[in-house]
Amino acid sequence: MSRNQILERIRQNKPAATPLPELPDFPRADLDPVSVFIQTVETGGGKTLPFSELEAWMAVEHPAARLIASNVPGIQGNVELDAVPTPTDLNPVDIAVIPSQLGIAESGAVWVTEADCVHRVLPFITQHLAVVLDRSNIVQNTQMAYNRIRVDETGFGVFIAGPSKTADIEQSLVIGAQGARSYTVFLR
């Protein structure tokens, strides 16, 4: 009922047709995506490190971490992601290590799909997030990123651009709101 009523009213009231513009993606030859990415991640409260330092980072930065969930081959965790019965069981996870197929220089964001994180909630519920990204997969801007991915390839996908943050109390920036407290991208 409502459906047809809404559509009918739109047909009566909509303006005359205008064209859908083509989308240029504004390439910049003067910028190196990798160095811009590194800088943007740091400005946004995150960190970048070489992939070779991932295990040392866990040992040095998070020696007290008890639960580590990894979906990156070669990085040993102690949470069997396929065997977790419900997503709420992931609440005690200290560190999640997940792969990403794409990074964006201008925002420091990485694209994470359901296939990358196994459980959709993992990159949010974990205390600390570690993402593994190939340097060659960093594009300059968000438009180029959307041209590279299929947003509906899996049921859920997210661009993550830093640690969870808020400025809702007097505009003071606080890192670690409801999601991960830290965001570290390991480049390889």
Partner: protein, 455 residues
């Protein structure tokens, strides 16, 4: 109370007004840095505006495409003509799933529909999970800003509130400490609720999915932890292609807070395994607004809040002075469409300086629409008597050069010779809280004539 009365109550506390002004202006300054970092900023605004215009001109088509795709993805799509329909549909879904506690992320639409009180009256606990929203929910207040809902509240007040509600230390007001307390409190609610509801930033016709942008990650903490997810969207949230997101995401957060993007840009396309996903498409006055040729452009709004952050009136009158969900310049052109008589004062809550239109990422002609609303409101007879008569008199005076010269002379003389109380009283709003400029001896016209006579 009208806008001017509420604004004058707001500015009575001068220190607080200055503080509010600075807090909001801070966002504007960050927006300038964000926008300035993108050389193609103006081209992006043009593209965003053109995509939205095109979408509005094909809205029925894109909505049905979206519905078809979403259904193929296993999503239940509902249509709500009114706020009541929307609330009933959401309540029905929750009842079907036996939900007793719902976690919500920010949604101006559900605020507009008064969903929370509707559900609470039917025994469902509703927890707003955006930190700012949670703060105002605990204070039983509506949001005063669409991006920073608690921007009017000082940290000491949050400290007091959390001391009472969450048991934080008395007198503690450090934002980091308070945010940490809220994090623990909200985690418990995320874990113990059984359903989540979000607003929608963008809905992609091409793929049938919805996109939600947050910085805290609260939408995703809610959506992914349990089976049922509900997304409520106005019909105008549709965009044609996934690639269009590239343009809008580049503009949205930069315009709002200066960030290159929000921390999380989440794309929901299919229910999680064993779960259910519902999308409610809401009209609630939007199709009517689409029929107003002079005002339909306001449906292009992506809710970044840039227009309120830059507005000299909003910054010094606060969000509540506008009396409706969306405040500031964009609210002042949307709200009269809902009830022109009740909100007839809002288009006058502006200096028409045009700064709102300058910062708008989708190039809505906000200040021009404010001006047009004034005319529509005047024609409909909704002007207050004082404005109606003064306009009539001014019209008569300005229409004849002789009358204008005469009254100009009278006014200049009056300002010079009248005692203070005759000029500064309640009949002259221009003399309220400010000194009028010293009256010159001659008018510009007289001066100009004199100049031309001299060799």
């Amino acid at each position: 109370m009208n806008h001017a009365q509420k604004a004058s109550a707001f500015i009575r506390d001068e220190t607080r007004t200055d503080w509010h002004n600075r807090a909001v202006w801070h966002l504007r300054q960050k927006r300038d840095l964000g926008a300035g970092s993108v050389p193609e900023w103006e081209e992006l605004r043009n593209l965003a505006s053109a995509i939205k215009t095109h979408t509005l001109s094909n809205l029925d088509d894109y909505l049905t495409r979206f519905e078809e795709k979403a259904a193929a993805n296993g999503v239940h799509v509902h249509w709500a003509a009114t706020a009541e329909d929307h609330n009933r549909i959401v309540h029905g879904i929750l009842t079907d799933h036996g939900v007793q506690k719902l976690v919500k992320s920010k949604s101006m639409l559900t605020e507009d529909c008064h969903l929370n009180p509707y559900l609470e009256a039917r025994g469902i606990e509703v927890i707003d999970t955006d930190l700012g929203e949670r703060i105002i929910q605990m204070r039983h207040e509506p949001p005063s800003h669409i991006v920073a809902p608690a921007i009017h509240i000082r940290k000491e007040e949050v400290g007091e509130l959390f001391h009472k509600e969450l048991g934080t230390d008395a007198g503690a007001s450090d934002p980091k400490y308070l945010t940490e307390a809220a994090r623990g409190h909200l985690r418990e609610h995320f874990l113990s609720s059984t359903a989540a509801l979000t607003g929608v930033n963008f809905a992609i016709a091409e793929t049938g999915g919805v996109v939600v942008c947050t910085n805290e990650g609260n939408a995703d903490m809610g959506v992914h932890l349990h089976g049922l997810q509900i997304h409520c969207m106005g019909i105008e949230k549709i965009i044609p292609r996934a690639a269009d997101l590239g343009v809008f995401i580049r503009l949205l957060a930069r315009s709002a807070t200066g960030q290159p993007s929000t921390i999380y840009t989440s794309h929901y396309h299919r229910p999680k395994s064993g779960g259910a996903m519902h999308i409610v498409i809401v009209d609630n006055g939007r199709t009517e607004h689409l029929g107003r040729a002079d005002f339909r452009n306001s449906l292009k709004c992506i809710r970044c809040g840039a227009c309120m952050n830059t507005c000299p009136i909003y910054r010094r009158s606060g969000g509540y002075s506008y009396g409706h969900t969306v405040p500031g310049p964009i609210g002042s052109i949307l709200t009269p469409g809902i009830d022109m008589k009740k909100f007839s004062d809002l288009p006058f809550a502006s200096t028409l300086c045009g700064s709102c239109s300058d910062v708008c990422p989708v190039k809505i002609d906000i200040h021009e629409q404010l001006y047009k609303w004034r005319q529509v409101i005047a024609e409909a007879g909704h002007l207050p008597a004082s404005k109606r008569w003064s306009m009539k008199v001014a019209g008569k005076v300005l229409a004849r050069s002789g009358r204008y010269d005469f009254f100009g002379k009278m006014a200049r003389m009056a300002l010079r010779i009248l005692p203070r109380f005759m000029v500064y009283n309640r009949f002259n709003p221009w003399g309220k809280a400010r000194e009028l400029p010293a009256a010159p001896k001659q008018s510009f016209k007289e001066w100009f004539k004199q100049q031309n006579q001299q060799p």
